[in-house]
């Protein structure tokens, strides 16, 4: 008999705002899979992309304090957002190697640092801690016939020595997870290209160009939809999709799912528990066509 898995949970700011459906579907999925998830009390922003560009010490200290808070909750730390995951991992990596910075950070957060707590992305928990076999066993409604383009973006696997989630340049963990849920995956070229990230506000032209290349590649490969693990990528691919179709005179119509939404669907969760109504590109026609709703 396998012991029940328990995690502390760091949702991050996006999951309380623009990516609330990622938060909802994560909690519902984990409940269904009987995995314990306890939100870190009093957690706050990891600093995301801006902090480390402005002040490295600030960025490290924000994450270090969150890690310290997480340490008080039982279990490894589960993280959904790719950017939060990256920053927390980066902080551990940097402070393990650099004693000077570590001392500065300890002074800033006024607490001694323990860096041995494990930070895990949801993918890691599903594919390795729970395991693909147990995940597949929990599937009630296999996503048969659904062709999924798994999009990693920049941060889930890179830089090579930091997140250690999978091979940096040829990862397969997303494909493994969604295939365990019964879906088909497509081989496509832009799995690891940058979507333009938060330039979406300051240089939308750049983002439109980069995101278009990703959508085009997924469509060319025959995908029905895209699966992501990052709220910012999601924003660019989903929210900007209509605009991009207009600029490039293209017709993509690719719903962009969070990984927990697709896996949640396969374990029998309904549309209301997955926040499908929050998606801009409407997934319902596709899911109905495939007989998944």
């Amino acid at each position: 008999m396998n012991k029940k898995l328990n995690y502390s949970y760091y949702p991050g700011c996006s999951l309380h705002a623009s990516a609330s459906e990622y938060d909802l579907s994560t909690r519902e999925l984990f409940k269904t899979l009987n995995i314990g998830l306890t939100e870190v009390p009093d957690w706050f922003c990891c600093g995301a992309t801006p902090a480390h560009n402005v002040d490295e010490l600030l960025s490290l200290s924000l994450c270090a304090k969150n890690l310290e808070l997480a340490d008080k909750v039982e279990g490894d730390l589960a993280v959904a957002c790719a950017a939060c995951f990256s920053r927390l991992k980066f902080t551990q990596h940097t402070l393990e190697e650099n004693m000077t910075k570590r001392k500065q950070v300890e002074k800033a957060i006024d607490a001694p640092l323990k860096l041995d707590g494990k930070v895990k992305h949801l993918l890691d928990i599903l594919a390795r801690d729970l395991g693909l076999e147990r995940l597949a066993a929990a599937v009630k409604k296999p996503l048969s016939g659904l062709k999924v383009a798994c999009y990693y973006g920049c941060l889930l696997t890179r830089p090579p020595d930091v997140p250690n989630l999978d091979c940096a340049e040829a990862p397969t963990i997303m494909e493994q997870v969604v295939e365990a849920a019964g879906a088909e995956t497509v081989a496509w070229t832009h799995r690891l290209e940058c979507c333009g990230a938060n330039f979406t506000l300051s240089r939308p032209g750049v983002v439109i160009q980069l995101t278009n290349a990703i959508l085009e590649s997924a469509k060319d490969a025959g995908a029905d939809c895209i699966m992501v693990g990052c709220p910012l990528c999601h924003g660019n691919l989903d929210i900007r999709q209509k605009e991009i179709e207009g600029v490039y005179k293209a017709d993509y119509n690719l719903p962009v799912f969070y990984l927990t939404q697709l896996v949640g669907l396969s374990v029998g969760l309904g549309a209301d528990k997955l926040g499908l109504d929050a998606m801009i590109v409407n997934p319902l026609p596709l899911l109905k066509e495939k007989g998944l709703l």
Binding site: P160, C167, A168, E169, A170, T189, L192
Partner: protein, 665 residues
């Protein structure tokens, strides 16, 4: 009663700047047993040595201590001088007051006191030195060369031309190595096969060369001048003596679709095959994994059509033992296969380049086979995927090499030049095509090398882009190359028809296993280590074993040939004498106390410890003790430190001497 002479060297100012040499000489003069002490500006100079010799004779000295530099530097010099003056050379020792004292200290007073201590210790040690005689070992004047590429071929021919027998062992069915695979060679663009195959024929015809192809080294025993090498001759399934090389078996073999490794798997061969038409020996071999007879017991066509009856399905692997005096290791290189991360290796793959997945992303050696007149396309540059001629071709340098974050930090040395050559060959064959090269630096030191590289740009119209490539992906029948041009600071995308990767050079697979059999050292990449990077570049630290070619590090053909000839010259130096003199600083076993536990045998890195039977006069076995073969012992002292009953002692470093040195402090 010993009369010890102590000579303190100033080493110009190297020692005297920090050490008060006159005071050292005066104080050591009062040390018990010291009959004479003096100091001099350069002890190693001719007047310095004369001073030493004169003092030995005039003062009737029994032992000598020279306090100067490291014994690695001048021990031989002073021992020779002592011998000329009539003393046994092993009664002379050096006290190192330069590297161990003056160079590493600043305070003159402290350094002087330390120098006196060091010299005092050596005086106590030399008192207990024994008279030793040089050890002589016989030399077997035959040589083993491992590897039949250009390095091994050159070394074998040079040694054999001097009249010494050579055993040449090659793992593949034919000699020739990688050079036989190349099309043209830089910087002169002469055809590789045209310059290589005559040398291969010379090897086959040389009366002094015994060739073992399709064979591997199984076991190496012995020591310099006296190695016993066991060679495994793998079953060829064809009798070499009967086969005439007519080739009928190959034309009749029904299995014809087996990828030929010699052609980088883009050409096909039969199950009974020679790797290429110019193979030496021109005797086919049966690839048992792919032969219908060996898989199902049916077929046997080759045996039926063979006129001389040379095909022998029953043939077994055979072990042959050869006695040799010297070994040249010339096992060469392999190209880094980048498509995936090798298991358990620190070297990471290049998943982003799709090598192995995108058919028209090939490595440099595959391009050589495409460009070679004897290659699978007859010398036409054609895409492996659809046989079309690529009109846009991209070359990427430094794939694997100089990429610390990917696990290989070294430069593979030949890629800049061969990529320049590839752009030329491409331009000569595809007139309307365009070649692009992504590069970090162009490294072209070598005679006529830079001119050659310039020519590829200025006359052959290759476009060089300084920057690296982040990703390759297939788009329709094109390969999109995403790179950067750091000179302009922009991102570049090229839609190419074919991409050629200049992948890193690595030692042959199994290089580490062979090194362990030979007892030679290798670095973390498995390249073999030379004894001294500058002054002994072709010798291994293990006596009697020499290195040639890319097994030691990436090298081009001219450099490989030079090193092979140098290794051959070293072998000939060894063979110039009938007996070999060795320094007698070796371990000796006190047999009376030895209990035969053989702890010493387990720790000996050189395999010098043997088992010796002690018998009484009636011939009854009394006990078995350890015996150190003085021909093999390297004098490292590990056995001495290990022996639980303190019965192994290294001459010059006995426990008694070490205790005496400590007591002198």
């Amino acid at each position: 009663m010993s009369r010890i002479g102590v000579f303190i060297c100033h080493c110009g100012e190297n020692i005297s700047r920090t050490v008060d040499v006159e005071r050292v000489a005066a104080e050591i003069g009062r040390h018990p047993g010291v009959a004479f002490s003096t100091d001099y500006k350069y002890m190693c100079s001719d007047p310095g040595q004369t001073l030493l010799k004169k003092a030995i004779q005039e003062q009737r000295l029994t032992h000598v201590v020279v306090a100067a530099c490291s014994p690695r530097m001048h021990e031989k010099t002073f021992r020779k001088a002592v011998e000329v003056a009539g003393l046994n050379p092993f009664l002379c020792e050096m006290a190192n007051i330069r590297e161990h004292c003056s160079w590493v200290h600043e305070d003159r007073e402290e350094a002087t006191v330390k120098a006196i201590d060091i010299v005092g210790m050596m005086v106590e040690r030399v008192k207990k030195n024994r008279v030793l005689a040089a050890i002589t070992v016989p030399v077997t004047k035959r040589s083993l060369v491992i590897g039949g590429g250009i390095a091994g071929i050159q070394a074998a021919l040079d040694i054999a031309d001097c009249g010494h027998e050579v055993i040449l062992v090659e793992r593949e069915p034919s000699i020739g190595g990688h050079m036989a695979q190349l099309s043209e060679t830089f910087p002169t663009l002469d055809c590789s096969q045209c310059i290589m195959t005559p040398k291969m024929v010379d090897v086959a015809n040389h009366p002094k060369i015994k060739l073992y192809t399709y064979s591997e080294i199984e076991l190496v025993e012995g020591y310099i001048g006296n190695f016993q090498v066991t060679i495994k001759k793998k079953a060829r399934s064809v009798d070499e003596d009967k086969c005439t090389g007519c080739g009928v078996c190959m034309t009749k073999c029904p299995q014809k679709k087996i990828p030929n490794r010699f052609d980088q798997n883009i050409g096909m061969r039969s199950a009974i095959y020679v790797p290429f038409p110019q193979a030496v020996p021109n005797t086919p071999v049966i690839d048992r994994d792919n032969c219908t007879w060996f898989k199902s017991g049916k077929c046997g066509v080759c045996q039926k059509v063979c006129g001389p009856g040379a095909v022998d399905f029953e043939q077994q692997d055979r072990l042959v033992v050869e006695a040799v005096g010297a070994i040249v290791v010339a096992t060469g290189f392999d190209l880094y296969s980048i498509n995936e991360k090798p298991k358990g290796s620190a070297i990471k793959g290049y998943g982003e380049f799709g090598h192995g997945k995108i058919p028209d992303v090939i490595d440099g050696m595959t391009f050589e086979r495409l460009a070679s007149a004897s290659g699978p396309t007859g010398g036409k540059i054609l895409r492996p995927s659809d046989g079309k001629e690529p009109k846009q071709i991209v070359f990427i340098q430094c794939v694997g090499s100089r990429a610390r974050e990917k696990g290989i930090s070294y430069c593979s040395k030949v890629c800049c030049m061969y990529t320049a050559k590839h752009t030329m060959l491409y331009h000569h064959k595809v007139h309307d095509g365009q070649a692009y090269v992504f590069f970090m630096d162009a490294r072209t030191p070598g005679k006529s090398y830079d001119e050659f590289w310039r020519r590829s740009i200025e006359e052959e119209e290759a476009v060089y882009i300084r920057g690296m490539v982040s990703r390759l992906y297939q788009k329709g029948d094109k390969i999109v190359v995403m790179g950067s041009d750091i000179a302009v600071g922009v991102q570049v995308e090229i839609e190419a028809d074919m991409v050629v990767l200049a992948t890193a050079i690595q030692p042959q697979k199994g290089a580490d296993t062979l090194a362990q059999k030979l007892g030679i050292s290798y670095d973390k990449y498995n390249f073999y280590s030379e004894a001294h990077a500058k002054l002994r570049p072709v010798e291994c630290a293990t006596a009697g074993i020499y290195l040639a070619g890319a097994c030691q590090g990436p090298k081009d053909i001219p450099e490989t040939v030079s090193q092979a000839s140098a290794a051959a010259a070293k072998v000939m130096t060894l063979f110039s004498k009938d007996k070999l003199e060795r320094e007698p600083v070796v371990a000796r076993v006190r047999e009376a106390g030895c209990v035969g536990c053989f702890a010493c045998k387990k720790v000996c890195a050189y395999g010098a410890v043997e088992e010796k039977e002690i018998r009484d006069r009636q011939g009854n076995l009394v006990k078995i003790v350890a015996y150190v073969n003085p021909g093999v012992c390297a004098g490292c002292g590990t056995c001495q430190a290990t022996c639980p009953s303190k019965c192994v002692e290294l001459d010059g470093y006995t426990d008694e001497q070490i205790v005496a040195m400590i007591e002198a402090l």
